[in-house]
């Protein structure tokens, strides 16, 4: 063990080359006892490669690793774990049908009578950890019955149970709701007080500034700098990450809305369990304005979007698009052909067929119309022609028309979705969490594009869980809470008032 404040981990000159790319180019990194050290960089900057080397999953071509001042060489994750390094992956490695305690002790179970699992001891030791680090997790609960945030805590406890004093968290907030993320940060602060050293991998600037003591920025495999929290700003970090100035605030002129493009009246929608999730929502979106719906996840936003796009049945109420009124049972095809564009909230689940190439993905709405097809015959060459044009116009990188969508980066996959929806020239463009999981450069691109579409005379309905995004893009803001619109604000609305409404606070309280 190192002393109270010493260096617990040092990586020196780590280099890892892959054909055509240097994933890590002489990267130096050190971790002090009881600090949170953020590793910041865009997707593909080399964060994960560096951590895989640290965790023994990949061997570096050059460089050395020192733990507590001693040289170590890992050939597997087992070596790393024995040295006191614990890793929490973005995707959890838990067995859903087993209990929290069983998952935590798995592999190093306390044993009684030589062969039997000592369930009592397992439970007690898990409870000890929970008490020490102030985790609120029921050791007897089955993993598939607890929330994602709690599952993540189980992963952290797994590492602590194995006596980790260095904890690596790979994009831990990507799967969490804002509230769960806040809880996670509370836990990390507790761990830090208890002397655990934490490497926090992220590409979200605000999180890094909230939790980290020091920040190391990687860009294209190279370490750009290590800075302390003092003096670091979102702008300075973004510049280091991307290599140029990034517009974190969206630059836009005031809106000049004209005709009503989307008119939703007294809409009621049920979810899959037949519970009412949208309870009498009415609003309009005009051509040339961005209307944002703010709200905490699960307050009916997804169901509202699905209803307007024809993916979910409307119980009652009407939807008017460009003057045409719809009610009852709509289909996606009807809404697509009526001028509704839709950037779905999950591009892998809905937005793309990952096994299709880009040309096929870009044709997803129009494959059944000339020139793509005629009398049921498809002309793949014409799909490619369109794709060539859109790939150029929308600056989609990482492949051509025949590249499979699965092999593009997240940012470029989203560009494919945006290109497809925008190029159809919709009357209303619905953008549901359009920047989810994207890094700063890609977020900037999507934001600029949405404003450009507004200025070209489209109506845009933005649904976002990120209040920052809502505030920077919207010309009008609607706050949704438990299936109702509980507040409406102009572009300059205050963050606190909206935040309060999102959590169900009444207007009187804010006024």
């Amino acid at each position: 063990m190192a002393d109270e404040t010493g260096t617990v981990l040092e990586l020196r000159g780590i280099t890892k080359r892959y054909p055509g790319i240097v994933a890590n180019d002489h990267v130096d990194f050190d971790l002090q006892r009881g600090e949170v050290h953020a590793l910041l960089g865009e997707n593909g900057a080399g964060k994960s490669t560096l951590m895989n080397i640290l965790y023994g999953l990949t061997k570096p071509d050059e460089g050395e690793i020192l733990v507590d001042g001693k040289h170590v060489s890992f050939t597997s994750a087992k070596d790393a774990i024995e040295t006191g390094i614990g890793m929490v992956h973005q995707h959890f490695m838990l067995i859903p049908v087993m209990t929290v305690a069983e998952n935590i002790v798995l592999g190093v179970e306390p044993v009684r009578d030589a062969v039997l699992l000592d369930e009592g001891a397992a439970r007690r030791r898990v409870e000890d950890i929970a008490r020490t680090f102030k985790f609120s997790v029921d050791p007897g609960a089955r993993v598939d019955e607890i929330s994602v945030g709690q599952q993540q805590r189980v992963e952290i406890m797994k590492a602590l149970y194995r006596n980790a004093d260095i904890l690596v968290l790979d994009e831990p907030t990507a799967v969490l709701t804002p509230q769960e993320a806040a809880d996670l940060f509370e836990i990390l602060r507790t761990l830090r007080r208890e002397g655990i050293s934490i490497i926090f991998i992220s590409h979200k600037l605000n999180e890094v500034l909230e939790i980290a003591d020091r920040i190391t920025v990687l860009r294209r495999g190279k370490k750009i700098d290590t800075v302390t929290l003092e003096g670091a700003t979102e702008e300075s970090l973004a510049r280091m990450m991307v290599g140029r100035d990034v517009l974190l605030r969206v630059d836009k002129a005031p809106a000049s809305p004209t005709d009503v493009a989307l008119d939703v009246k007294d809409l009621h929608v049920l979810d899959d369990r037949e519970l009412e999730k949208v309870s009498g929502v009415s609003f309009t979106v005009r051509t040339g304005e961005i209307v944002a719906i703010a709200g905490v996840d699960g307050n009916g936003q997804s169901e509202l979007v699905e209803a307007i796009t024809g993916l979910r049945r409307i119980e009652s109420g009407t939807i008017e698009v460009g003057g045409r009124e719809f009610e009852g049972h709509l289909t996606p095809r009807l809404m697509i052909d009526s001028g509704v564009g839709h950037i779905p909230e999950d591009r892998h689940r809905r937005g793309l067929v990952l096994e299709f190439n880009l040309a096929e993905n870009l044709a997803l709405h129009d494959y059944n119309k000339p020139p793509d097809s005629k009398h049921g015959w498809l002309y793949p060459a014409r799909l490619v022609t369109r794709a060539v044009r859109l790939i150029k116009d929308f600056d989609i990188r990482g492949g051509g028309p025949l590249t499979f969508a699965s092999s593009l980066s997240g940012g470029n996959q989203q560009k494919v979705v945006v290109a497809r929806e925008v190029a159809r020239n919709p009357i209303v463009l619905i953008a549901a969490q359009p920047t989810r999981g994207l890094d700063v450069g890609a977020i900037e691109y999507v934001h600029r594009r949405l404003v450009a579409e507004r200025d070209e005379g489209h109506a845009i309905l933005l649904v976002s869980l990120e209040l920052d995004e809502v505030l920077s893009l919207a010309d009008r803001i609607l706050v949704m809470y438990e299936g109702r619109i509980v507040g409406e604000h102009g572009a300059g609305a205050g963050e606190e008032e909206i935040g309060l409404e999102m959590l169900g606070g009444r207007k009187e309280a804010a006024a």
Partner: protein, 409 residues
């Protein structure tokens, strides 16, 4: 993200993905020919070990099957096409079997491309046989061409309707097609036994004691182009089978229907979002699959069977072999064609084609079942094979392109 973007030759992502389906899809594309060939080779090796364990020489056994399938004919140049000679006759019989296997293979492969597993090829095939027999026995006064075409058309439609029942149930109630197609198989089997059985509506009229169908009229028989029509020669149905492979490819890759079916098979939710009526696609995929099986039944009945008995209904298994053919052929047109050729040779070469002095036919028949079972098993285990293969590839080329890990799953 202009300057920040990796350049074209740089892999865009390095984050490992645990989205297993995506990786599997990518690996299957990368695996290409390797996996099915490896699968077949492993199955034959394992079969050889069993032959050796029974005290026979595996080499002799496989040589016997090879000759029995008529494959040796291909190497006897100049080719003697006279089916008086055993090699040529054996090959013509292998091709006859192959025709059926292509179609029952496509019956599985086509719905598979839409994400559906059609276990009901056997039932759809039987329905095709029955309808073709009925048409062939009736309308005896018709000229050959319309009679054959009517038989083929009616049987194809019947196969489509039979599979379509499973498709409708899937689309309307969500009933799983594996369950419903298996149930429909049994209905077809018992239905056939009733129809052809004693007193059944389609029983022959000349021998009330024999539980078998009537014999189809001469006008309903598909002409033979290789061999003797009295000795089960190879009929023009063979070309229908080959053409079906092309039609399969054409529908999937050159029609909007094929685009919709593939989109639905890969990602039904994205297909729905794209404006595709996913439930209708389920029905269409099953119906077209069933049409291939029904066509197989028609070609067999009108090509060389001419009549069918209750015992034949009970013994028939060829529709099930379509599953192995489609799996080995990776649900592609060319793959299904090659796999059907392989299984056609195996099936005929271990049964009637086999010289009983070379290798005991009862053992050989079991060998076919075993190889078939092993192939299904190995293809089912291709996740494992792909894993081993990828581990090898990783050792040589450490970096494999992977999609970005998606938050929120």
């Amino acid at each position: 993200m202009s300057q920040a973007e990796p350049t074209a030759n740089v892999p865009p992502e390095q984050e490992p993905s645990s989205d297993f389906a995506v990786r599997l899809g990518a690996a299957q594309r990368a695996g290409g020919l390797v996996v099915p060939v490896l699968t077949a080779v492993l199955a034959f090796l394992a079969g050889g070990i069993v032959v050796a364990a029974t005290g026979h020489n595996p080499w002799t056994a496989y040589k016997g099957i090879w000759d029995g399938a008529g494959f040796n004919w291909l190497f006897h140049v100049p080719w003697d096409t006279n089916t008086i000679h055993l090699d040529a006759f054996n090959l013509s019989q292998t091709l006859l079997t192959m025709t059926t296997l292509i179609l029952v293979g496509l019956a599985v492969a086509f719905p598979f491309r839409c994400g559906l597993f059609n276990i009901g090829g056997q039932g759809q095939y039987l329905v095709g046989l029955i309808v073709a027999n009925w048409v062939g026995v009736s309308f005896a006064s018709w000229p050959t061409a319309p009679h054959v075409l009517l038989g083929i058309g009616a049987a194809t439609l019947a196969g489509a309707a039979w599979a379509g029942i499973a498709g409708v149930l899937k689309a309307t109630t969500g009933a799983h097609e594996v369950i419903t197609t298996i149930m429909l198989n049994w209905i077809a089997i018992w239905g056939g036994q009733y129809l052809f059985g004693q007193g059944g509506p389609l029983q022959n009229t000349y021998n009330p004691a024999a539980p078998e169908s009537g014999t189809i009229a001469q006008s309903a028989r598909i002409p033979v182009f290789w061999g003797n029509s009295a000795l089960q020669g190879l009929d023009y149905g063979f070309f229908v089978g080959i053409a079906a492979l092309f039609v399969f490819w054409l529908i999937l890759n050159r029609t909007t229907l094929g685009y919709e079916l593939r989109a639905t098979g890969f990602n039904p939710e994205a297909a729905e979002y794209g404006g595709i009526d996913v439930r209708r696609k389920f029905f269409q995929a099953m119906a077209i699959g069933g049409a291939f099986a029904g066509l197989a039944g028609a070609l067999d009945m009108l090509g060389y069977l001419f009549q069918f008995g209750v015992l034949d209904v009970q013994a028939s298994q060829i529709g099930f072999l379509g599953i192995a053919v489609a799996l080995l052929g990776r649900n592609t047109a060319i793959g299904t064609g090659v796999a059907a050729f392989l299984f056609g040779g195996l099936l005929y070469g271990t049964t009637r084609g086999l010289n009983p002095n070379v290798f005991d036919p009862s053992l050989a028949g079991n060998l076919t079942s075993m190889i078939q079972g092993l192939i299904v098993l190995f293809v089912g285990a291709d996740i494992l094979i792909l894993y081993v293969w990828n581990a090898r590839r990783k050792a040589r080329l450490p970096h494999i392109l992977r999609p970005e890990p998606e938050p929120g799953q």
